[in-house]
Symmetry: none
Subunit: 216 residues, 4 copies
């Protein structure tokens, strides 16, 4: 079983079983959508790459757009999964004395997730501007939920005097910009450069944390 297959199994194979052909269709669609974009990818191309007849695609997904949404929806869910677990706050209190440790852990964890699902991440950020359904889902399910959780976290550490006194929204936005900025530059814009990943992440976190630390 290839890496690709494992990823597909993990993301799409919840309860219902996927046939071999379905998996191949998904894999082919992900590859093409990521590379050329949804609009510029033809279903015949996907069929050819997946080694199935074109009709087979439409047996499983009523329309091309349904195929896109099938691909993108679980990615969104997994992206925020760590933040919506029930005992998020508890874990937080027990594990991370310092805000810095928490952010560092989180950045590492989510960066790793994005990197191991880079194609899906590409599709997500490339198609959100064009698909109103996606934009809506993103705002409603992702941005909102993460924001709600984080707001409390920020307040918590602000009370402890570990973070600068500032509206939580600004802190969250800045943190998100930092993560996405790194991942996009590293893996999408300049993947061919030589990166010392560990050091770069270290520096990035350092700047952010220092920026967020209370002024003396």
């Amino acid at each position: 079983m290839s890496e690709q297959d494992k990823m597909i199994d993990e993301l799409f194979n919840h309860d219902e079983e996927l046939t071999e052909k379905q998996k191949k269709i998904l894999a082919a669609a992900i590859e093409s959508f990521a590379e050329k974009g949804y609009a510029a990818t033809s279903t015949s191309e996907i069929a050819k790459k997946a080694g199935v007849a074109e009709g087979t695609i439409f047996r499983h997904y009523k329309t091309k757009k349904e195929l896109l949404l099938t691909i993108v929806a679980p990615m969104m869910a997994k992206l925020i999964a760590p933040f919506v677990i029930k005992d998020f706050n508890k874990v937080l209190n027990q594990d991370y004395e310092r805000f810095e440790d928490f952010v560092k852990a989180m950045i590492e964890n989510r960066t790793k997730f994005l990197v191991s699902n880079m194609q899906l991440f590409r599709i997500l950020i490339q198609e959100i501007p064009f698909q109103p359904e996606l934009k809506e889902q993103f705002k409603e399910h992702i941005a909102k939920k993460i924001f709600e959780r984080f707001e409390k976290v920020i307040a918590h550490y602000q009370a402890k005097g570990q973070i600068i006194d500032m509206p939580p929204y600004s802190v969250i936005r800045m943190t998100a910009s930092t993560i996405f900025g790194y991942v996009i530059a590293r893996y999408l814009l300049v993947p061919e450069a030589e990166w010392d990943d560990e050091a770069e992440i270290e520096r990035t976190v350092q700047i952010l944390m220092h920026g967020l630390s209370p002024k003396k």
Copy 2:
């Protein structure tokens, strides 16, 4: 003369004269490309919106892609214009004693530019992943040049002890993430929220600057 018209005049009307029809075609194409993406926009749609015949588009632009490049190229040039003026360093030395002032001015200036060319900015960041020519241009003409200029600037202020000791690339990337992160969140992701722009920019710069300041 509308805002749109002025923008088009400024960006596209260098030496050669544009006919009224050409301007309308450009305006229509920009609007549609920004909204639905290049691949999902048909030339017939552009023609209709511009109020010209389909053939007219191809009189001026050999292919649809040429139309896209015509639109995007000057945007790139203008985006980095302030950094490539000949006496960049001189201006710098004379005007900005502190790194903070320089960055603040720059962020304000470029943010303003992006905002007043938001549609073009959208097209730029949305199409770069799909058009290898654009990606190449971006890297060669934009990223590289800016990097070269900035590198010296960073070194200059590091020597003065105003910036943390760190590879310039990391500093630049972090700064760029910060600017783009703000503009994208503000104007593309959540434009409908109520923003106190001045304060938000102020906070953003503050975090960045604090993060970049040398540790004691």
Copy 3:
């Protein structure tokens, strides 16, 4: 057992037994063919309406057209059944002294049959123009046989001086036009109008009979 079921049993269940699924397929096909026409009805639609898998249809009927013919053939047979019984003439002589009574009885009987098989009648007249096999069957088995029988009847009553002296073909055609004209107007063209069926049939027969009566 519904009306639909009874009709299907009566028309299709001659010697061989129909399974429950087969009946459902027939019922679904009849409904769809009548409503949208043979060509515009898809087998998947029939399968869905019948609650069976698509493959099941093709287990029982080799092709879609075979399904159509299976439906239409017995309808034709039943339509002319009264005219082809062996002792048609005997019955005629014994039962109907006057041509008028004969025609009235016939019109009532056949109208009733058509009305209680309206969907099949629709399919029949709608598909005959497009299916050469049907047209051939219709001419060979229906029109010809009825004509042969009727010719003698007409001659019989003409000899008795009860019908105008005229080629039998014209009389038959006119009679058929009258019946079909009524049924089509009543049930297919303007079914939603308020009809006093008994009176309308009475008037229709009256005009026809008066028209066919010998001139003084």
Copy 4:
């Protein structure tokens, strides 16, 4: 200019000009629709028969259905044209002393029209059952208007004692059945038989008129 061309010019070329290709498309569509039915005719087939590219069809008619409606609509208008001229009643009073002459003239005139537009007539009666728009148009514009006009005519001749005393609707329906019954039998069902057209029409009118004459 062929017969076909003349017919197309007359029916479709009101104010706007039709290009040569458009005429060919109409002619090809009429031929195929009449022969195989709307649903069973493919646009590629029409294109091939018309000698144009398939795209050309859709340049002139947005959808296949629009093509059908373009073909059928003027046929309906022309079919009832004689009945909706402004001075219908005047013409009637001046020209036809007897109901019989009026009906005879009308039958001859409309039969001739139908015969010289037989393909369009076929399409009309074959597609009305499947196209709700057509059925609606037929009822609203054809049936209703003709009925309104005729009602008065019937009353007029009934007052003169030339027609049987009977609801106008029944008289009209019977008359229509007679006309359509003749045309359909003659040209659609049994066109290959040897017909003495003049005599057959004569006999048909005779039966109808005799049937409608007042009883003594």
